[in-house]
Each structure stands twice: as C-alpha cells, then as structure tokens.
Amino acid sequence: MSAAAVLALLAEVIANLPTAITTGQQVIKLVNDGYRQLSDALGDREATREEIDVLVAKIVANSAEIQAIE
C-alpha cells in the first residue's frame, strides 16, 4: 500500500471516529497505529515532493482549526 493510500485510509477512519472514541487510550492507540502503518507503507521509498506538500498543507489547515477552538 502506498503512503498516499494509507493517508487516505487514515483520513477516512478518522472522519468516522468522533462517535466511536470514548477514552484517551483510543487516541494514543490511533496515533501509534498511524506511526506503524505509515512506517510500513513508506518502507525504503522516499515520499514525493507532492505528498509532502499536501501533508504540510493539511497540517497547517488543521492547526488553524485547532487554534480556533475556544
């Protein structure tokens, strides 16, 4: 599975999570699973410039959203 496919899968899972998460353990598990899956997916392959740019853009957008929460 490519890094882009894993990211798409994670995004889909996360989109459906708010009603499913009930404990902090699940958030940490989500994070740890994300690391593991991405490490497995990337392997020895270098991420492309486009993948990095998309990722950074998403992070910046999410950060703005987090900062806007009262």
């Binding site: 890094a3 990211l7 994670l10 996360i14 999570l17 708010p18 998460i21 009930t22 404990t23 902090g24 353990q25 958030v27 940490i28 989500l30 994070v31 740890n32 994300g34 690391y35 991405l38 490490s39 990337l42 270098e46 991420a47 410039r49 990095i52 740019d53 990722l55 950074v56 998403k58 992070i59 910046v60 999410n62 950060s63 959203e65 987090i66 900062q67 929460i69």
Partner: protein
Amino acid sequence: MRRILNLGLIVSIVACLTACALLAPFGAEDGARRVAKVTLSAYETTQQAILIYGRLPDCAERTPKICKDKVVWAKLKVVEATATRAISEATPVLNGSRADAGQLVAALAAIENVKTAVQEARVKLEGRAP
C-alpha cells in the same frame, strides 16, 4: 492503564533515541529526512486526534475532557502551534530544496513536545500525579 502509560513512555523514548541516532552523524541527512517524513506523516494523525478531542461535546464519565480544562487546553494549543510552525520551516528541507540547518531536529522535537503534552494532559485529567 499503568501498563499502557509505561508502554507509551517506552515508545516515546525509543522514538527519541532512534531520531537522535539517525540525526547525529554527519552525512546522514537522507536518513534524517526519511525519519522526519514518516514522523511528519504520522503527526497529522496526532493533530486529528487533538482536533477530535477538542470538539467532543460528550462529557461521559470516562471521556478525558482535554478542552474542558482551560490550562491544559491552552498548553496543548501552544505546543501544537509551535510544532506547526516548525514543520512549515522544515518543509523545504524535507523537499530537498534546502540544506538542513537544524530544522528537522527542531520539527521532530516540537512534535515530541506535542505528544508529551497530550500524555501529560491525559494523566492530569485522569487525576494521577504526573
């Protein structure tokens, strides 16, 4: 729960040691970039988790209310904003268009700070001593 916290601590320490081991030697920039790319990708998941938690309207008994404690939530927002700035500054290095002058280490460290803050928030909100 103690076992999970211990495991989380061990994972964080291993991640720090791995990052340090890869970033320390001269000529290891490619390896450092790869580690940073994986960490950066995974950080997006961390952010989503923070975002979801910050918005949870449910106050169920076992739900850690990260955003309900103003001090905890303010700290999380500060470290998260710092990490996002560091990631933006490291992006040209990650893309290979600029030599690394410490941006990768700074971004990795900032991301680790967010993870630590999330762990501390969990401990505090669950009523344990840090």
